[in-house]
């Protein structure tokens, strides 16, 4: 069992228990975490699952694909060069078994 923490702008947090293989987007959609949409179902094609990863977890993240890199250029909320990722590309694994993210204010323009 792994833990994903979603921090919202209003100070509210959602703590979600996730199983291996689940992504940060998927866990949010299944559990109704506000502010994460996942419109393309996890294909890195919509950027409505944008999150800012908290500093302490940055080293644990998988490498970024070219697709993800390109999508992050067109997010509705501004990209953070260091912390921005697509939630659908962050899968819970043995190396990433805990993560905390900030949910951006906007996912759709």
């Amino acid at each position: 069992m792994s833990m994903i923490t979603y921090h919202h702008e209003n100070g509210h947090t959602d703590l979600i228990v996730a199983v291996a293989g689940t992504s940060v987007m998927r866990a949010a959609v299944i559990n109704g975490v506000e502010g994460i949409i996942g419109e393309c179902g996890g294909q890195a094609m919509c950027a409505t699952c944008h999150v800012y990863v908290r500093e302490e977890f940055l080293d644990l993240l998988p490498e970024m694909s070219d697709d993800e890199e390109e999508m992050l250029e067109i997010t509705a909320s501004p990209r953070d060069e260091v912390r921005s990722r697509l939630g659908c590309q962050l899968k819970i694994t043995t190396s990433l078994n805990e993560i905390a993210v900030d949910v951006p204010p906007m996912q759709v323009q």
Binding site: G21, T22, R26, V29, I30, N31, G32, G38, E39, C40, G41, G42, Q43, A44, M45, C46, A47, D67, E70, M71, E73, I74
Partner: protein
């Protein structure tokens, strides 16, 4: 009478409508009937991730389970609407009870067109629309080694590419001269034929399906209209869909290849509306009666209809966009390219990263992008803002589309 908006169909558009009605401030009752018993789920992954090796066992839901209680939606999974009385504004249900509505919404989607040819009842022949279809298909894929896909549409080719990634021998039979011929420009179709062929998929164009051969009740081959026999231990048929409009026409609502609606998505009965895959509406940009099958269409129509149903009548005029994932290829389409008379390529075809810009009478009408999500997002902005762009500018690789667009948008706003 108390307000009760009754929605028929718990798919992409029906669920979005529940959500958008509450967002728009509607406080009356919402009743949602859904034939399927599952928590409403997203269909697009069913022909992509869901059938990949080692895929997540559960479908991706459209909303969390508690959504319906949170938004005060009376949700009835497994209950179908069986008939409608427009005169007394009542729906009758599969459990033989009935309910009154103040407004009624058809969000009934579409179902697969099926084949009735020799051997079409053999085990191992699949269709793909629902989670149950996909679960069955996925179960059999584990043992399969050779597949024949009938129809080179989006779902057929997504399945073909996923099956190829799992190591199956894949043959695609397409009656028409090119894949996805109804929607894609000619050069884009050609690109897909070549890319799938390079990927090891055998693309048989101009080859229809004549019959299936079997042994002991199970599929062993597909026989093409040319007479060629293609061995297969699993078959996927993707030959298009039929809109679920029979319930509406039986009630006396105008339907013809879909439930006919006006620009506000209202049917021939003023208290009845239709949206998503089942609705045919006058397209704002082309003026043509149109029925689209896409997540964007279902979602944006629901958002628009929620305004009308809360007292702010709105015409549906969103830009159409679409995506498809076929193995390593991401395709995205913005706008409607139907009837274009010129297409211009921008980007690098050899590197599998490019877009095709489609013009009609020198006006840009749609853009098809391969592995270029930024192009796609820019195209959506170009088409929405009405930024005038010429084929010559697009053909000029030095022309900076993004910054010209930005300047135009700023001038437009200021």
């Amino acid at each position: 009478m108390t307000e009760n908006i009754v929605i028929i169909g718990g798919g992409q558009s029906g669920v979005q409508l529940c959500d958008s009605l509450r967002t728009e401030g509607y406080v009356g009752a919402i009743t949602l009937y859904a034939s399927e018993t599952h928590l409403p789920y997203q269909r697009p992954p069913l022909s992509k991730d869901f059938i990949a090796e080692g895929a997540d066992a559960v479908a991706l839901p459209l909303r969390a389970e508690r959504f319906f209680a949170d938004r005060a939606v009376d949700f009835y999974p497994g209950i179908s609407v069986t008939s409608i009385d427009l005169g007394i504004k009542t729906v009758t249900l599969s459990d033989e009870t009935s309910t009154n509505y103040s407004s009624l919404v058809f969000a009934t989607g579409a179902r697969n067109r099926t084949l009735t040819i020799e051997g079409s009842n053999l085990a191992g022949i699949h269709y793909l629309r629902t989670l149950d279809d996909a679960t069955l298909l996925r179960g059999e894929l584990a043992q399969a080694t050779r597949t024949v896909v009938v129809g080179a549409g989006f779902i057929g080719l997504e399945f073909a590419a996923a099956a190829r990634q799992r190591g199956l021998d894949v043959t695609v039979l397409e009656f028409g001269p090119r894949p996805m011929g109804r929607v894609l420009s000619e050069p884009m179709s050609r690109y897909f034929t070549e890319a799938h062929t390079r990927n090891g998929i055998s693309m048989k164009l101009g080859e229809g399906i004549a019959a299936f051969g079997g042994d002991g009740g199970r599929i062993t081959s597909a026989i093409g209209t040319s007479g060629t026999e293609y061995p297969a231990n699993i078959v996927l048929v993707g030959v298009g869909v039929i809109p679920n409009d029979e319930l509406a026409s039986a009630a006396g609502i105008d339907s013809e290849n879909g439930i006919i609606v006006n620009a506000t998505l209202q049917t021939s009965d003023p208290d009845v509306f239709a949206l998503g895959d089942c609705a045919r509406y006058p397209h704002a940009q082309t003026g043509v009666m149109t029925r689209l099958e896409s997540v964007q269409n279902a979602t944006d129509q629901a958002k628009t209809l929620a305004k009308t149903l809360t007292g702010y009548p709105a015409n549906y005029d969103s830009l159409a966009w679409f995506w498809s994932q076929q193995g390593p290829i991401k395709l995205q389409i913005a706008g409607i390219t139907d009837g274009h008379d010129k297409s211009v390529l921008r980007g690098n075809l050899q590197a599998n990263k490019f877009s095709i810009y489609c013009f009609r009478d020198t006006a840009l009408v749609g853009v098809e992008s391969v592995n270029s999500p930024a192009d796609h997002m820019t195209a959506r902005r170009v088409l929405t803002s009405g930024f005038p762009i010429s084929p010559e500018q697009i053909a000029d690789s030095g022309f900076d589309l993004k910054s010209h667009l930005k300047a135009f948008e700023l001038a437009d706003r200021g």
